[in-house]
């Protein structure tokens, strides 16, 4: 009998490799794909310095070119007494949005929707929406509500031109009109999706639909809860829960084995802690919700193993390797390792340089960055963001995660950390992008 157990363990450890081993085995010598090892080592130095100075607790960085990973480094710690691993799981928050946008495009390819469809075709609460207009000071009432000139479309949601806000935007771009709209959100129990309330996303979306829009559809670029609405739209059109749809239509075909809306029990130990940094050497493990005005972050909610709330804009937990697989599918124009998820034409549509006309995607970037169907896209070099190339598309997550895809150089860079506040890491990210791009040696 003992021999049987012995044989079982031998088989287990020899034929079921761990994720780390699996990922490491895929790393090739940088020189094979036209990258300089010596120059990539500069990233090690940069990150080690950040960790030593306690600006971040740790990170995982992945760089790939021509479909091959040349750099996969875990640095620092994932939690107290727990070193960061290549397969550590992160709250990727808004990096969920490209996944949800892709799910919408899958339904688009199946002929189940048009991007030009009004959202009310599927969610009736979006019919007869109103837009807020502030009245001059001294008026009897502070605002009036006017009818929409046209309805919010699925394209508006994909490109953040719906007039739907994030509550947290009162901290980014304060003004009385925004404050008024967010006041409605607060009273109606709308949340940004960074916490996991005990309700189904559809209930929240239906309330949101009845609240005034910040601007007429198509008239502004406002980063907000639009992709959460898309998440519910997927449920309505597909008849499946958002997590089930994304699992079967994206995670499974792309073999993204460590991506989840709710963490499985057996993977909780792989989930990174979240850290609050003053970026001057004080680093604290976060154990309570982080509240800053209208911004509410609940990193502890990621330890929940089940729940009702499925945010298409923020709920996914993932690893660098899994997100690389998703990014590589986009870079390959819809295909990965023989599995075609999207058609070439659909990915070209998603990554077309400008879906937002005269507007700019200035939240994380600058003027000259436009927005595609799920991510910011660099249109030209007339901006002050150091990194990138024309056509680069990328997005980020609130706990300091970021990905960038460079079609011209066939390159993917993924940076995953779990450090708040988010804004402080822009400089670090830009440096990583400069170092990764300048490692190109062909």
């Amino acid at each position: 009998m003992n021999n049987i157990y012995y044989l079982f363990f031998i088989l287990l450890f020899n034929f079921v490799p761990t994720s780390v081993a699996k990922e490491s085995s895929k790393v090739v010598s940088p020189e094979i794909i036209g990258l300089s090892s010596e120059r990539l080592a500069r990233i090690d130095k940069l990150i080690n310095q950040q960790v030593n100075e306690k600006k971040i607790a740790g990170s995982v960085i992945l760089m790939a070119r021509q479909g091959k990973i040349a750099y996969l480094k875990a640095s620092g710690q994932a939690d107290i007494g727990k070193p960061m691993q290549a397969d550590t799981i992160f709250r990727i928050v808004s990096m969920t949005k490209p996944l949800t946008s892709t799910a919408i495009m899958l339904l688009y390819e199946q002929g189940k929707l048009l991007l030009s469809d009004p959202v009310s075709k599927y969610i009736p609460e979006f019919k007869n929406q109103k837009v807020i207009e502030m009245l001059p000071k001294g008026s009897g009432f502070p605002y009036k509500l006017v009818p929409v000139k046209r309805e919010v479309t699925i394209h508006d949601l994909l490109t953040h031109q719906s007039g739907i806000l994030y509550l947290a935007s009162t901290g980014w771009f304060p003004n009385p009109k925004r404050e008024q709209v967010v006041g409605f959100y607060r009273d109606a129990g709308i949340t940004d999706g960074f916490c996991r309330p005990d309700e189904a996303i559809g209930d929240m979306v239906k309330r949101l639909a009845k609240l005034p829009l910040y601007s007429q559809p198509g008239e502004t670029w406002e980063y907000g809860l639009s992709v959460d609405v898309l998440g519910y739209l997927i449920e309505v059109i597909s008849g499946a829960k958002l997590d089930t749809f994304v699992q079967t239509e994206i995670f499974d075909p792309l073999k993204m084995q460590d991506s989840h809306f709710y963490i499985p029990k057996n993977k909780i130990s792989r989930l990174s802690a979240d850290w609050e940094s003053d970026w001057k050497g004080k680093l604290t493990r976060v154990t309570e919700p982080l509240i800053d005005g209208d911004l509410a972050l609940c990193p502890q909610d990621a330890y929940q193993t089940s729940g009702k709330y499925l945010s298409g804009g923020a709920s996914v937990l993932s690893t660098a390797y899994d997100y690389f697989r998703f990014s590589q599918m986009l870079l390959n124009k819809g295909e990965l390792e023989g599995t075609r998820l999207l058609s070439r034409k659909t990915v070209e549509l998603m990554t077309a340089t400008n879906h937002i006309g005269k507007h700019d995607a200035t939240l994380l970037h600058s003027h000259g960055w436009k927005f595609g169907l799920g991510f910011a896209i660099q249109q030209d070099r007339s901006h002050n963001v150091d990194s990138g190339d024309i056509g680069v598309f990328e997005w980020a997550g609130y706990y300091s995660t970021r990905f960038s895809i460079n079609p011209k150089e066939q390159m993917i860079t993924i940076f995953l950390s779990q450090t708040s506040p988010f804004e402080a890491h822009f400089g670090l990210w830009d440096k990583i992008m400069v170092l990764s791009t300048s490692a190109i040696a062909d």
Partner: protein
């Protein structure tokens, strides 16, 4: 010559307005013709997501249909928005629950009472195993947290030293359970509805204080400032009287109230 004629016909077709017109790529009318009667959600009395299967919804739609009043019940998540549409946007009407209008706000409204329901104070037993000492004097609840909705009249609670915690109606019961509030005031049937939906397995833990908290009037209000306000109010009143005298009202009432 025949060819010339054929070319002429083809050219005429190509240049005709019919051939050029593909039609504007716009959706049908954005606004329906029916006037709005706004309301919040207060099950089982008003449930905009299930308008024909709630008490007020069934009464109101029966009368609207019978009297051929072109209006729809439109649910909103906030009382403040119902008030806005009624008072600032001259909407046709609104249902009354929790609007708390002032006398001056009511002067342009025609209020048609439909029914009155009992309200009680409730607490969650596991958080207060010894019970709450409410016997009609609010001061006995001093220091406790009263959960209510924004816009409610809360002066008497504040004067009694009770802390006010604002919330949405649909999460008040949850707030009792997670101990964010100590007691709430709601219609008995609303508590039963939410407990049934959210905490069916622990309904015995929601304790109604024996002294009644008061009554909640259920009414429909028509706006005199709306072009059809007065006419529709008259028609509605007539229709409601007919519904009551014909016995249908009592049937609907029995279905939901008992």
């Amino acid at each position: 010559m025949k060819h010339v004629n054929l070319y002429f016909i083809l050219l005429a077709l190509l240049l005709s307005s019919t051939a050029n017109a593909t039609g504007p790529r716009v959706s049908p009318s954005l606004i329906s013709t029916a006037s709005d009667i706004y309301t919040i959600k207060l099950p089982p009395f008003v449930d905009p997501g299930n308008q024909y299967a709630c008490y007020l919804g069934e009464v109101v739609y029966s009368v609207l249909h019978e009297q051929k009043i072109d209006a729809v019940l439109t649910g909103l998540p906030l009382q403040s928005m119902v008030k806005y549409y009624l008072l600032n946007d001259n909407a046709l009407g609104a249902l009354s629950p929790y609007l708390h209008l002032t006398v001056s706000q009511k002067k342009d409204l025609i209020i048609i009472p439909i029914d009155t329901v009992n309200e009680s104070y409730y607490y969650y037993k596991p958080n207060h195993p010894d019970g709450l000492a409410w016997k009609g004097k609010l001061k006995r609840l001093s220091g406790l947290r009263f959960g209510t909705i924004k816009g409610d009249v809360v002066e008497k609670y504040k004067q009694a030293g009770i802390k006010i915690k604002l919330s949405r109606i649909d999460v008040l019961i949850k707030k009792l359970v997670v101990n964010e509030v100590d007691f709430v005031r709601l219609p008995d049937l609303t508590v039963a509805w939410y407990v049934g939906k959210q905490f069916a397995d622990q309904k015995d833990n929601f304790i109604k204080m024996p002294t009644p908290a008061g009554n909640l009037p259920l009414a429909i209000m028509f706006n005199k400032k709306h072009p059809q306000g007065q006419i529709n109010a008259d028609k509605f009143k007539q229709g409601l009287d007919k519904l009551k005298s014909g016995g249908q009202f009592q049937q609907i009432q029995l279905q939901y109230i008992n």
